[in-house]
């Protein structure tokens, strides 16, 4: 079998090694330097996850927060970029009043004609909240606290904050503001996992 099928990365190192010729000591030093470099690359194995959260209903607030707080327990570098309705998850007051929509939700055991009646969203939300309490599922606030405690970067999109007249003082302490799409993209470009919720 031919030996000149080496991958391109070996070609690059080959060029650098040409200067050192066949001096065994120089080659040895070069090998050690490369091994150290590979070692560093392996050590820098921290995974990154970026989640773009766009939904602010009670049910849709859970998936990004559960994934983010769990990923932080894996020691991953996690950013959740909240935009549009998802800003309500970070809003201290609104986050306590997130609602489930009974209309247009085929998983709800309520016909749309009934679900559209006044008070039905509140009723559906109350039912879900009591189920969550019964089941020992964490509340939105608990998951936000856990995420922030563990170093998850919860970001609030500046453009939608202004669109919705939100002030950063209304958000939980520790939420990152003054960030936009470019900040999110920069993290996404480097991330192992990118999710849009």
């Amino acid at each position: 079998m031919s030996t000149d099928t080496s991958p391109s990365s070996a070609d690059e190192t080959g060029e650098e090694m040409a200067d050192e010729g066949s001096d065994p000591a120089a080659l040895q030093a070069r090998i050690e330097a490369l091994e150290a470099q590979v070692g560093e690359m392996e050590d820098d194995g921290q995974k990154k996850m970026t989640i773009i959260a766009t939904q602010g209903s009670f049910d849709m607030a859970y998936p990004p927060l559960i994934l983010a707080s769990t990923a932080a327990a894996f020691d991953w570098d996690v950013v959740v970029f909240h935009t549009f309705w998802a800003l309500d998850i970070l809003h201290e007051e609104n986050s306590k009043n997130l609602k489930l929509s009974a209309v247009g939700n085929p998983n709800m055991p309520i016909p749309n004609a009934l679900a559209a009646l006044p008070g039905m969203d509140a009723l559906a939300t109350r039912m879900m909240r009591s189920k969550i309490e019964e089941n020992g599922t964490a509340t939105i606030e608990e998951l936000i606290d856990l995420s922030l405690d563990q170093g998850v970067d919860l970001q609030a999109c500046q453009m939608t904050m202004e669109l919705m007249d939100y002030d950063e003082d209304e958000f939980y302490d520790g939420v990152t503001t003054d960030v936009g799409a470019a900040t999110a993209l920069e993290h996404m470009a480097d991330a192992d996992i990118q999710l849009l919720v």
């Binding site: 769990t70 894996f74 599922t137």
Partner: protein, 81 residues
């Protein structure tokens, strides 16, 4: 069934569901020193798979044992670094 390791701390997450058993386990492990063992007692049946998955993907911890009892799941995690 006896365990051949010494338990340093016990974490009770009975009644709590995903993602709490994993997240609290991680927090409790952070408070331990190298070589110490955390026992986690959970009622979440998903904790068997979840704590194993977490331990496999996380540096510095080793899952020593898992025991499934009647509605109770016990996990033994050592802090290795």
């Amino acid at each position: 069934m006896s365990t051949e390791f010494e338990i340093t701390e016990t974490l009770d997450v009975k009644g709590q569901s995903c993602p709490m058993p994993v997240v609290k386990t991680k927090q409790a492990i952070d408070d331990l020193s190298e070589g110490e063992v955390l026992k986690v007692v959970a009622t979440d049946s998903g904790s068997m798979s979840d704590i194993e998955g977490w331990a496999n993907s996380t540096d510095g911890v080793e899952l020593l044992d898992q025991q499934e009892g009647e509605d109770v799941y016990k996990h033994y995690v050592e802090k290795t670094a």
